[in-house]
């Protein structure tokens, strides 16, 4: 009995050690892959033909904290068509039910939400998982909204459906979208300023 317990302990330790080692060596490459995927995913917010520059080559430095609530300094991007700005991409963070939610928001020069998507989240799978198709549709329902439109959820007496069973997540997301629009309003000149 004792021998069996020792053997099991040995297996557990070996397994944990192996995983820690692999994780240690793989981490940089994994982070690289994650970033590459995020970059690929970034640009599909913009409708085809809406920009002719390469937004990723012109990052706009955004400080941590503030209205966007990002944990660290992030980068926004400016998309332009024929030299005129067509959209600004802003990363924004929200505090979800299970952990931080990172969103990317595309805003038109006149302050409307063009599109938004979730970059990272840990919400409950099957219930509030924001990457599932149904929830992506819910997120899409906010497209074309501006700050002066209706934003409050039914749970808060408003007219917008929240995700069933995930009011905290819904509130966090709508709040983050509004913060991004407010940030854009406040920093409009700087964000849209022409760049060589």
């Amino acid at each position: 009995m004792k021998r069996a317990a020792l053997l099991l302990l040995l297996i557990a330790l070996l397994g944990a050690g192996l995983l820690a080692l692999l994780q240690h060596f793989a981490a940089p490459r994994i982070e690289q892959q994650r970033q590459a995927a995020a970059e690929r995913a970034l640009l599909d917010l913009l409708p085809a033909g809406s920009h002719d520059n390469r937004p990723l080559q012109q990052p706009i430095a955004l400080p941590a904290g503030g209205l966007l609530g990002n944990g660290r300094a992030e980068q926004g991007y400016l998309a332009s068509l024929n030299g005129r700005p067509s959209a600004v991409l802003l990363p924004v963070s929200a505090r979800g039910y299970e952990g931080p939610i990172q969103l990317l928001v595309a805003i038109t020069p006149d302050g409307r939400l063009l599109a938004s998507k979730v970059l990272q989240q840990q919400e409950t799978p099957g219930l509030a998982d924001l990457l599932a198709a149904e929830r992506a549709d819910w997120l899409r329902s906010f497209d074309q909204r501006a700050l002066h439109d209706e934003w409050s959820l039914r749970a808060d007496g408003g007219r917008i459906d929240q995700i069933a069973g995930a009011t905290v997540t819904s509130r966090a997301v709508t709040d983050a979208l509004q913060r991004a629009l407010r940030f854009f309003d406040a920093e409009r000149e700087q964000l849209l300023e022409a760049r060589p």
Partner: protein, 184 residues
């Protein structure tokens, strides 16, 4: 009983074979992982029994599944994300091996092959009939030059888990029909 166990090990497939690229990845993971687990479990059988062996299999299975997850993250973040929920379920086939008294590496290799082939069949059928495409998102694994085929006709039921369940049932029924003495 044994056949029932083998069927149970196919459970991870229901959730993640709606695209061929996902099915291929999890099939490949199962093909490697199931025999490897049997290989590691073989020397432990003499020293452990009963619950001890089950616990050992669980530890080994979980470790191997985590390794597979890490390896997948190395190749493609998108694919790893898509399979994140289902790779840990690969510990299930490893666990099933402990309940099978006369399990050996050859049988485990067969189980792995069965797992991979079922994944492939379900992946192809569900993507072709469900999404109306084939090899969509191949760029996740093969780089941006890889594109799949798309057309419009589709049966969305098959893209959901329920459709996967029905399809798996149909495939198993078909196998039983053509292989009646083996099926019991």
């Amino acid at each position: 009983m044994k056949r029932g166990l083998q069927v149970l090990t196919l459970a991870p497939l229901i959730g993640c074979t709606d695209l061929l690229i996902k099915a291929l990845s999890i099939g490949l993971a199962g093909l490697l992982l199931i025999p490897l687990c049997a290989l590691l479990l073989a020397p432990l059988r003499a020293r452990l029994s009963g619950n001890g062996l089950v616990l050992a299999a669980l530890l080994i299975g979980a470790t191997l599944a985590s390794c597979a997850e890490l390896a997948l993250q190395l190749f493609s973040a998108e694919l790893a994300n898509a399979l994140a929920l289902f790779l840990p379920l690969l510990a299930l086939p490893c666990l099933a091996q402990t309940l099978d008294k006369d399990s050996n590496i050859r049988r485990a290799a067969q189980a792995g092959l069965l797992f991979a082939l079922t994944a492939l069949a379900m992946g192809v059928l569900r993507e072709v009939l469900g999404h109306g495409s084939l090899f969509a998102h191949a760029d996740w694994l093969l780089g941006p030059s890889a594109t799949g085929w798309h057309w419009n006709a589709s049966l969305p039921l098959l893209t959901h888990s329920a459709g996967g369940f029905i399809l798996l049932g149909l495939i198993l029924a078909l196998l039983c029909h053509f292989n009646q003495d083996d099926a019991r």
